[in-house]
């Protein structure tokens, strides 16, 4: 009988942490915040992806304006980028593999931050095209600090979900990722088992 043995070994370890900090076993407030963070990040990806997909020419010009990629790569990157964003948006929205998708989101956002920072450092005068549009602008009209601050905010959302991917209303929750029961968390702990107290 291997399975029960395994569960006996792991079970107390899983519940030890919330008990130790004296919080309810479920941290419903944290899960609720996680949901808001997830929806926020999903909105960022879906909106920016839609705006980019709607104007592929502008998106290409925006990618070229960063002067980071060789011409042969700029086309494929500009073509794929809007749909990478939309795909991440859908996955974050439904909370599928939240931690992995949040890590991917971090990587994409870090690439954006790097692009903007190098454009600023090299003295290019461009608009990041983060939400569609973009390309070269008049030198007085760059907004690098604001663009970087905004992306840092988005990065914070993604980092939250890397550190604490659990949230309400997610496919992960429904599948029972990181939970003690395979049932989804409906945000109501009253009818769920209270382990380790007996």
């Amino acid at each position: 009988m291997v399975k029960p043995l395994l569960s006996v070994r792991r079970y107390p370890r899983r519940v030890a942490k919330p008990m130790a900090v004296g919080m309810p076993a479920r941290w419903p407030v944290g899960d609720l915040l996680g949901t808001l963070v997830r929806f926020g990040l999903a909105a960022v990806w879906l909106v920016s992806g839609t705006l980019k997909a709607a104007d592929p020419e502008k998106t290409y010009l925006a990618v070229q304006a960063f002067r980071l990629l060789p011409d042969a790569l700029a086309g494929p990157v500009a073509a794929a980028l809007p749909f990478v964003e939309l795909g991440l948006g859908v996955l974050v929205l439904f909370g599928v593999g939240t931690r992995v998708v949040a890590v991917l989101s971090c990587l994409v956002l870090l690439a954006f931050v790097t692009g903007i920072a190098q454009a600023w450092a090299r003295g290019l005068s461009i608009d990041c095209g983060c939400f569609g549009g973009g390309g070269e602008v008049a030198p007085g009209q760059t907004r690098y600090p604001q663009e970087l601050a905004r992306d840092a905010g988005f990065l914070a959302l993604a980092v939250w979900l890397v550190v604490r991917p659990r949230s309400l209303l997610s496919v992960d929750g429904w599948l029972g990722v990181g939970r003690r029961t395979p049932a989804g968390d409906d945000g109501d702990d009253r009818d769920e088992p209270v382990p380790a107290e007996t």
Binding site: V8, P56, D71, A80, V84, G97, R180, P182, T198
Partner: protein, 267 residues
């Protein structure tokens, strides 16, 4: 509900939970695989589907023939060694130099607003125009390089005498900046459509016959102080830039050509 009853219920729940956990733990790997597969499938469908959708719906450049737009007047051209297309009578009293790029939207506007006046004045022998066709926006077609290919094809068309319609057609049906641009095949077909016969034109288009001259012209124009415009970032060269007898003119002045012709005493 009595205390003993509650404890019993709780215990029952706990054992149920333990069983459920055992089941879930047992399925952990499988569940992770499923989630991983979902992530990969969603991303692949989004990216591949999206790119194909965009490609099919891209109107700019198009796959068909470039429509022929006839110039407002026909005029003779010759090509100088440095790739400059000289339009009109050499003896004309006014010399207009036009620096343009077939991808540049502002050049498209220039041709829309002033093209007719310029073409007619050239045909009437009042002015001659030296077209410096540049590849300033090479990076801004997708794939890159339309500016150079179009410039090369137009100069090749000029060497066959069919420049006016070829030039007018490319500007009247200008691809979007950031768009696909036209292919060599489309440029060759446009040449045939405006009446160029023989294989020399096609060879010139495909072989990039004038590419080196075009690049040198761009270098020369970019570094020519007389062609720099004042802007917030200092002086810089852009297209379209127009000079009359060597002096840069302000395109905000709608009568620039009329005035130039009047000043030369041709009314």
């Amino acid at each position: 509900m009595g205390g003993a009853e509650r404890t019993a219920r709780k215990r029952k729940q706990t054992t149920q939970a333990a069983r459920a956990v055992a089941a879930a733990r047992g399925g952990n790997d499988r569940r992770n695989v499923i989630i991983g597969v979902v992530i990969v499938v969603v991303m692949a469908v989004a990216v591949i589907g999206g790119v194909l959708y965009t490609r099919n719906n891209s109107t700019s450049g198009g796959a068909g023939d470039i429509p022929v737009t006839t110039a407002h007047a026909q005029y003779p051209t010759k090509v100088e060694d440095d790739g400059t297309v000289v339009a009109g009578n050499d003896a004309a009293k006014v010399t207009v130099d036009v620096y343009e790029d077939f991808l540049c939207p502002a050049c498209g506007s220039f041709e829309k607003i002033y093209g007719e006046q310029v073409e007619k004045a050239v045909a009437d022998g009042k002015i001659k125009v030296r077209y410096h066709i540049l590849n300033l926006l090479d990076r801004y077609s997708n794939p890159a390089g339309y500016s150079l290919e179009a410039a090369n094809a137009a100069i090749a068309a000029a060497s066959t005498g069919k420049f006016p319609d070829f030039h007018a057609s490319l500007f009247a049906n200008q691809p979007k900046e950031g768009g696909k641009g036209y292919t060599q095949d489309q440029l060759v077909k446009l040449g045939q459509a405006v009446g160029i016969s023989g294989g020399d034109f096609e060879a010139a288009v495909r072989g990039g016959k004038y590419n080196e001259q075009i690049k040198k012209q761009l270098d020369a124009a970019s570094n020519n102080p007389a062609l720099q415009r004042e802007s917030a970032q200092g002086k810089s060269f852009g297209t379209p830039t127009i000079t009359v007898n060597g002096t840069m003119i302000d395109l905000q002045d709608g009568d620039w050509l009329k005035k130039a012709i009047e000043q030369s005493g041709q009314g």
